[in-house]
Point group: C2
Chain length 233, copies 2
DNA sequence: ATGAAAAATTGATATATCTCAACATTAAAC
DNA sequence: GTTTAATGTTGAGATATATCAATTTTTCAT
């Protein structure tokens, strides 16, 4: 509890978990942000943002982990990416229609800053370097989706599951042993297959000793083999 | 041939086929663009831009039609969208790495303007309204890809093919009878299936009298039924 | 600790989809 | 116009994947 208050009282100018993007702001701009932000803590499982709702703020994740996903047809979702601490979250709604076009749910207890959208836009229009970096960030996200579209439509299940695990390894945890933050069902949403198929593939991967799963931890034993599976699709 | 020269000599300030985006520029800005653009005519089938190459210019299509597609695994492609006259084409490469992240090939004889990227960026940084509209355009494209990702991964083949045809109807031609600019193979690339499957679905749709194909023209006979197929996936 | 709910597992079966191979038609090149 | 190449068509068979139903394990609230 002590930690809760400490964090929420911390000012942007002292923040250690700021996204690279906000690191480009000067002191006055940061104070402007600070005066127009809301800081909220979420428990694992809670919805941080719901697709379709009005976008009043942009987000910056200070700590924890979350999944960012598209809600599709008949309740099915596609996880676009995992959100890490210091990740900025804007999205195409900023300029299109001021709505959120994806949902975000906390996977771990997470601390999130909500920065007023108009304030954010104001700074974008006055700070050239900031604007440029924002666009870089946005563009990177778009390329991730391009990639995802290709691999989800052109690879078979083993390749897609390998890609999902490699994504967690390469981009999220950056080590061969990491906590299983995603349920089998969520893994299936990340790799566009049924829950049962995800279970079977993980079992196969374990049988072939490519991975080991125990105590809510996943260890990648043979990353080269996984990369090969990813490669051959 | 006369037409070729006439078009290529036309100045931006007199251009009738300018994208909405460039319509926001004032006379001086247009003259700046005019002085730093190249105008090129392409024959149907020619490659306008190749994925992976250096992005020296952004594009604006004056006339004709083109396909914009991602080159994926083992030569397979995914068509992202059809480019119409007056469409602006930038892409995530502008801010990410100055490379093209998709390829563009002319479907019909097409006339395309190439605007110097640095000039384009310069105007972006000086004309607020222009910048805002550019971002709207970019964001709309991103949402198209979100949509595509969902429908390609969560619908079955009949729904995907219905979506492809409805896309041509609703967004490209806006009438129930239109020229078959895409081969069966290209239609399969638009709906993420094999060429043979695309052929079969079109045959099925024809048998059920939802569409009619003759003389390089496709006519949608029962759009409500198509929408229903799209809807049920 | 206990029971209820949620998640994971499994194998059998049904279905969707691709691949292959053979052939037909159309467009392009000479 | 004839030949050649590209595109389109078809059905059969193989394969990938989803669905279903039954069971076990884990998690969570009381």
């Amino acid at each position: 509890m002590a930690e809760y208050f400490e964090k929420s009282l911390k000012r942007c100018t002292d923040c250690q978990c700021m996204s690279q993007l906000f690191g480009l702001l000067n002191k006055e701009e940061l104070e402007f942000v600070d005066a127009n932000k809301i800081h909220v803590n979420f428990k694992a499982g809670e919805t941080i943002k719901k697709q379709g709702t009005f976008m009043s703020h942009v987000l910056s994740v200070n700590s924890g982990l979350a999944k960012l996903y598209l809600e599709g047809i008949e309740g099915r979702s596609a996880i676009l990416r995992i959100v890490k601490p210091s990740n900025f979250i804007g999205g195409p709604g900023i300029y299109h229609d001021q709505r959120h076009h994806f949902s975000i749910t906390a996977l771990l207890d997470s601390s999130v800053c909500f920065i007023d959208l108009q304030v954010f836009k104001k700074i974008l229009s006055t700070n050239q370097v900031f604007a440029e970096e924002f666009l870089k960030d946005f563009s990177r996200d778009v390329l991730t989706v391009y990639n995802r579209l290709i691999y989800l439509t052109q690879k078979q299940m083993p390749g897609r599951m390998a890609d999902a695990l490699l994504y967690l390894h390469d981009e999220i945890f950056e080590q061969s042993k990491f906590p299983m933050i995603l349920s089998r069902f969520e893994l299936s949403e990340l790799s566009a297959m049924s829950r049962e198929s995800a279970v079977k593939l993980l079992r196969d991967f374990q049988k072939e000793e490519l991975i080991r799963i125990s105590d809510h931890e996943l260890e990648i034993l043979d990353i080269d083999a996984l990369r090969k599976i990813s490669h051959i699709g």
